[in-house]
Amino acid sequence: MPKIEFKLNDKLVTVHSTANRRLLDVLREDFNLTGPKEGCGEGECGACAVLLNHKIVNSCCTPLANVDGQEIVTIEGFSKTKRYQIIKDAFAEMGGVQCGFCTPGMVIATESLLNKNPHPNDEEIRIALSGNLCRCTGYNMIIKSIQKAAKDGDGIW
């Protein structure tokens, strides 16, 4: 069994497991991190999104081997940050949450976007979210949430 080491939510972890196991399963089964969700299992919906070296990836399409020596942050880890507080308040205030199943992925996508581009315009936000499906909101209030987060978090990203 290969030994895979990576940084998970700020802690170094070691996993003895087959190298092609899906990161999503490792997170949910081995670490009980159930914030990343399985929506489609093929990288289309973004419900399983996590940060790999600060950039969004779909953990359902990431083999465990790919994270060896890398840094993974899930919604559980990210929710301890100040940036999360700003995004969370913005989503709550602007009505960005309905059923909530896509929400952790949307929050991860928001962080990935703002980390790279702290002042995105609408089109940039829509492109950044285009890998995260939501069936409840029509995205309108999610876009407004992200605009608000960018504004409220000015200087933090």
Binding site: T34, C45, E76, G138, N140, I142
Partner: protein
Amino acid sequence: MKDISKSINKVDNEEKISGSAEYIADIKMDGMLYAMTLRSSIVKGEIIKISYPKIPDNYYVIDHKDVQGKNIVKIIYDDMPIFTTKKISYLHEPIALVIGPEKEKIVEILDSIEIKYKEEEPQFEWEDSVVDFHFDKGEGERVFDHADKVISYDYETGYQEQAYIETQGFIGYQDGDKTTLIGSIQCPYYVKNALIQALDSEPENVRVIQSTVGGAFGGKEEFPSLIGCQLAVAVKKIKKPIQLIYEREEDMLVTTKRHPAKIHFDAAIKENKIKGIKAHVGIDGGATIGLSGVVLSRAMLACSGAYTIDNLDITGDVYKTNTVPNGAFRGFGAPQMMFAIEMFVEHIAKDLNIDPLEFRKSILAKQNDHTSTNGVYRDPILMPEMIEKAMKESDYLRKKKAYANPNIFKGIGMSFFFHGCGFTGSGEKKIIKARVRLRKHKNNKAEILIAAVDMGQGVKTTFRKLVANILEIDIENVIFNNPDTDYVPDSGPTVASRTMMIVGGLVARAAKEMKQRWREDEFVVEKQYKQPDYIKYDEENFIGDAYPAYSWGVNVVEVEVSKTTYQVKLVKTWSVYDGGKAIDEKVVLGQADGGLAQGVGYGYLEVMNHKQGKIQQKNMTDYIIPTAKDMPDMETYLYDNPYAFGPYGAKGVGELTLVGGAPAVAKAIENAINKRIYKIPVTPEYIMELINNAKN
């Protein structure tokens, strides 16, 4: 007094944003086994023989022989087996569950099961009618005798998949004689009643609990009863916790979808006016009837759209075909009809060389007009001012005129529509008989005990707010847990835009009584639904008030169509709704955005079809739902028009917001390409066909 509509932040935001909310797949139990489904590989025929490999210890096969009660899923029309005994009537029909501790091993077992079939010729044509309805209004067909001319068109709508992001799932466990299921469901009592029949258990030995639901849209109305029964049979026999969760592909291939429909209209025209309409609505029920009859009746009842037509002759059929059973989806028959009638009235005006907008406005339904079944629109209808508002905000007239230029390939379209709130006909009175309970706790907290489910639409927030407002206490002091049939009475299913109007109405009445008695230490208030006396409906003959109240809406959609690829790009939408009174403005606006996204998606983007009974779209890559890039900015305006029997005047809004999307986007595309549209979804391929066909 504070306006109830003023928004608060939703009560479940924290847990959902942080990812700590527990959905069904997040729940783990000690010693939990996994279940997967053995399915038919043929479309129609009979099973001759099943050869199972040697089943290892701690692995199980559960099939129809294990069903202790009736091998039928209790739905409105009881014709769906829990597991097939022999007969196969659609592809991937469930035969058995294979259960065990390791998923890989289960797959291995499934792969090595051999089934010998006797195949029969499947039926895909819409010929075998299993439900048929007919009703007349006014002179019915006789109005055609003195018509100047008859205008006839046919319209078609496709499948639509609910595409909730969380797939179907349950976990079940046995405790003594008691079978408990936790599931992603809309209707705890539908599941419970189905389980009682399947297990032949006493009601107290069946318990159903709702987990956090990751979207439903009707898809978790009746379908969960099927897999709930399968799992419960297994749990009761094996007596270990078992999880049954669908993967996306399975979910998309085998779960119920919106019924494809074909609608034929004839209009009797005299002096350039519609004197009467004759219509036939056909819907594809798939292999079992289930809810299809009720879907058909809602489609037929919507036949005159937001207009008043004095003479009607309406028929409809549910056809049985060897395809996956169709079922509930937000709108429930109305989206099909609302698309068809909106296009038909537009096309009639064009044929008569009358400005479609003026023509449509001249026949809008008004207060005290008679509905399609000779009920009465008793409450004020605000459509004229709502249309005015939508036109002003969208700059409709200027754009409509500018886009008439055929070289611009831009378009704007506007739909008028309504939705009947609550169960069709006397369903509330005769079938559901909703009960609600409020409990005052010693610590001055009030607990809401109802079976209504928060599936994202904000029921937890709006109900707690409703009760807090009436009791004049802090929302923190109002408790509302996920429904558990051991604790909540049957307040009916979370469907049909009934939750706030009907269940909320009852809860408000209970809260008012509680307010009077608030000084008492600890007590319970219960209320049961009573239909207002003036609401009378003859189900058999379709006469009278099919709904106690109606919500109304206007959607405007602006599009651009690519001249080279015929891809449609949404530019912006403007909507105006009368949902009575919003219990929370932000929650209703959220419904408005999401409903319209599904409605326009249905109209131009979401393609699903079958080939010889096999659904061709098996995942989110093949079945395209709108992304953030597809959706435009959406503007919504809400009109207050309080309904006397709704809490604070609230009517239904959940489905209303979907039904106008398809006709609005279709009309916008019609405007952009100067060709008439007769079917949805309006795909680039269809646009190309229309453009290449000079006659259209």
